[in-house]
């Protein structure tokens, strides 16, 4: 680390990540006492968390299997055959991943709920709805990881294999080419899907309300933890749930990192094949895939205009904008959509101002350390991924309890939700910018130095324009993530006046009692957030490098 800026960025990041979490852990252990056996046994002993460990693993494993089963055939069709509008199809099929999970929950509930297919009365359908919702949310990972391998494979490799005994049959090609080539990508996507399903919050909270995962336990009891003499059992639950989650996430991330390394060495460097053949039968996979990707989103928008009316025990519907009027006026909540949107935009803007330069600087530092072959490069690289090992709710709780330990008054600070947002988004900025720095030809900088350009001139005239694409991806991704962030905001936002749009949607949906406008109002708020996210997503797609095979 040659300059002061690099050292400062590492120091700021370390402080933002470690201090709140250390303070939170310290506070919890101080209240609960150091007794790990009691912490872990409290999970099965307490009715609030009984069965949550088993259910967390079960739904995460089933969701991962379903995601691969749905995503892989779609990726195969997209990567191996010629389609009109491939770019648009790719964008639509990978869109669910950037949609805030609370909107996905609204979409699936509207689809299977009493105003849709009417499946909710049968509780057996809850788990399957959750698994399909997770598969919907994560299929983009499978497509983004595997499709570039399929679409950019050097045709000579395939043609050569056809001339050899080992590649004469379909099974031979599968065994000798496709399975070895695709396995690291599929496994990496499976790993990420498992992580996201394991820590899923909004979807579990809304789709399987009768079951608990470790994440929902944390969210439910977390706000009561850390207070001496008050419901102290919650501290045991929070400590045990966090430690289990942290261990599983860390192991998954380690596996993921190892698989990524393997995957990078196998990822073909050829450009996208232009001599692909059409495959009309593939429409049987792509059309249902597109329908699957769009249905929950269309359902959310559609249900915002569909007002239920109950007359003499009969349920009928009419079309209207009453839901939108209520959503924007705030008739059913502490804040209207406008104010919540302003809160969300404010938090997203401040998050961007901090996370972007911080992530840029960290990625640059890691890259410079890599060039000097320093062992610190790997250490810093792994350290910047540390927040991935914490779920959103864990980070929210860390901030809340950490602040409580510092000064109880601080938790009424409007800015508070920004801190978890920065913690959650900075690693993504690093993950987006680091490959960009690695891919930047060093001779560009050397050439500019030879021409006598100063450090500042090289930054503005060379580096920044050349990195414009990934930088814009990082900007839009940070904004989209912050706008849609739910778990941490739900834990940290202490006052209704600061509600972000996802928190507002949740509070609208949580209202009890029959009211015909509740569902359309929540759906109108969700549609607003969805449209903003889609706008950001389409912007990102314009700047994404072709054939890029990462999750972001």
């Amino acid at each position: 680390m040659k300059n002061i800026g690099d050292k400062l960025s590492v120091l700021i990041f370390s402080s933002i990540i470690l201090i709140p979490l250390f303070l939170a852990l310290d506070r919890l252990v101080w209240v609960a006492g150091f007794d790990p056996v009691r912490w872990f046994s409290s999970i099965e002993a307490n009715h609030l968390s009984q069965g949550s460990v088993g259910f967390t693993f079960l739904q995460a494993i089933l969701s991962t299997i379903a995601t691969i089963a749905i995503g892989l055939p779609i990726a195969w069709q997209l990567g191996r055959y010629k389609w009109r509008g491939t770019g648009l199809m790719r964008a639509v099929l990978t869109m669910p991943f950037v949609i805030p999970s609370i909107i996905a929950a609204m979409g699936f509930l509207a689809f299977v709920g009493p105003h849709g297919m009417g499946l909710r009365a049968d509780q057996d359908t809850h788990l399957w709805t959750l698994i399909i919702a997770h598969a919907w949310f994560n299929m983009a990972l499978v497509i983004r990881f595997t499709e570039p391998v399929l679409s950019t494979l050097d045709r000579d490799l395939e043609d050569q294999l056809r001339l050899l005994p080992g590649g004469k049959t379909f099974w031979g090609k599968l065994k000798n080419l496709w399975i070895p080539l695709l396995t690291p990508s599929i496994a990496a996507a499976a790993c990420m899907t498992f992580i996201f399903s394991f820590t899923s919050f909004a979807l579990v909270r809304w789709i399987t309300p009768l079951e608990s995962t470790l994440e929902t336990v944390l969210a439910d009891v977390g706000e009561r933890a850390g207070i001496l003499g008050y419901e102290e059992y919650t501290n045991d639950l929070v400590l045990a749930s966090s430690l289990i989650q942290f261990t599983v996430m860390l192991a998954s991330l380690w596996l993921m990192s190892w698989l990524q390394e393997k995957r990078q060495s196998l990822l073909p460097q050829a450009s996208e094949n232009s001599n692909l053949k059409p495959n009309p039968r593939g429409l049987l996979i792509l059309v249902p895939g597109l329908f699957f990707a769009l249905a929950p989103l269309v359902t959310v928008a559609w249900s915002s205009f569909r007002i239920p009316v109950r007359e003499q025990g009969e349920l009928t519907y009419h079309w209207g904008v009453e839901g939108w009027i209520e959503a924007w006026s705030g008739g059913y909540s502490n804040t209207g959509v406008g104010d919540a949107l302003l809160n969300s935009l404010g938090y997203a803007g401040i998050t961007l101002i901090v996370a972007l330069p911080l992530g840029w600087s960290l990625a640059k530092t890691i890259h410079e350390l890599e060039l000097s072959k320093s062992k610190w490069a790997r250490i810093l690289d792994v350290f910047t991924m540390l927040p991935f090992a914490f779920s959103a709710v864990m980070i929210g709780l860390g901030v809340l309890l950490g602040i409580l330990k510092l000064d109880g008054e601080l938790n009424s600070l409007w800015l508070l939700p920004v801190l978890p947002h920065i913690m959650l988004t900075t690693p993504f900025v690093v993950r987006i910018m680091l490959p960009a720095f690695r891919g930047l030809d060093p001779s560009y900088d050397e050439g500019a130095r030879i021409l006598g350009l100063s450090h500042r001139a090289r930054f503005w005239k060379i580096k920044l324009p050349l990195l414009r694409g990934p930088l814009l991806v990082a900007i839009t991704f940070t904004l989209a993530m912050s706008l849609g962030e739910f778990g941490a905001s739900w834990v940290v936002a202490r006052s209704g006046e600061w509600d972000t749009l996802p928190v507002l949607i949740d509070s609208l949906r949580s209202r009890t009692g029959w009211d015909p406008l509740i569902q359309p109002t929540a759906a109108a708020a969700a549609t607003t957030l969805m449209l903003i996210t889609l706008l950001l997503f389409l912007t990102v797609e314009r700047f994404r490098p072709k054939g890029e095979g990462g999750m972001f």
Partner: protein, 194 residues
Amino acid sequence: MLKCSGLTKAYSKMLFENLDLELGAGEIAAITGPSGCGKTTLLRCICGLEELDSGEITLNGEDITSVRTEDRGVGLIFQKPVLYPHLDVGGNLRLAGENIEKALSEVGLEGFATRSIASLSGGEGQRVALARALLARPKILLLDEPFSSLDHELSLRLVEDVRTVLKQRNCSAILVTHNREEAAKFADIILEIF
């Protein structure tokens, strides 16, 4: 005038040791030798992109051994022309100076200022890189196998053109190449590294 004394550089193996080199004003030298013998590293050390293990470099009497690359007044043309794809030909030249039309006409590329980098052929790209390097008015120009990726006929034509331009400007230059014919056509003196 360039004077290199006792230049030493090693990575896992010794590339050059106590190497001395002198080049007069307007003189053109070619350095030949097999791959991996340290030709490119020598050029990178002269322009400051690599640090020497020991030795001293003076240019026009000034010790530039510890001077930053940006301030050395040395030009370098890479094996593959380093042209910035986000700028057009004119924009690339403006990084070095203002009189771009004259610089382009000197290398036979009149009217190329608004052309995109992607539209240039290999030879045109090298000419743009040469025009830009000369526009920066270097005290000495270093050329790191800039003709090696071009076909034989084109490379020989370009060798002659570049030599003419350098001689017109009385600009000293060092060409690194493994092609003896190219070295003979381009340089006043030829040095061999083993």
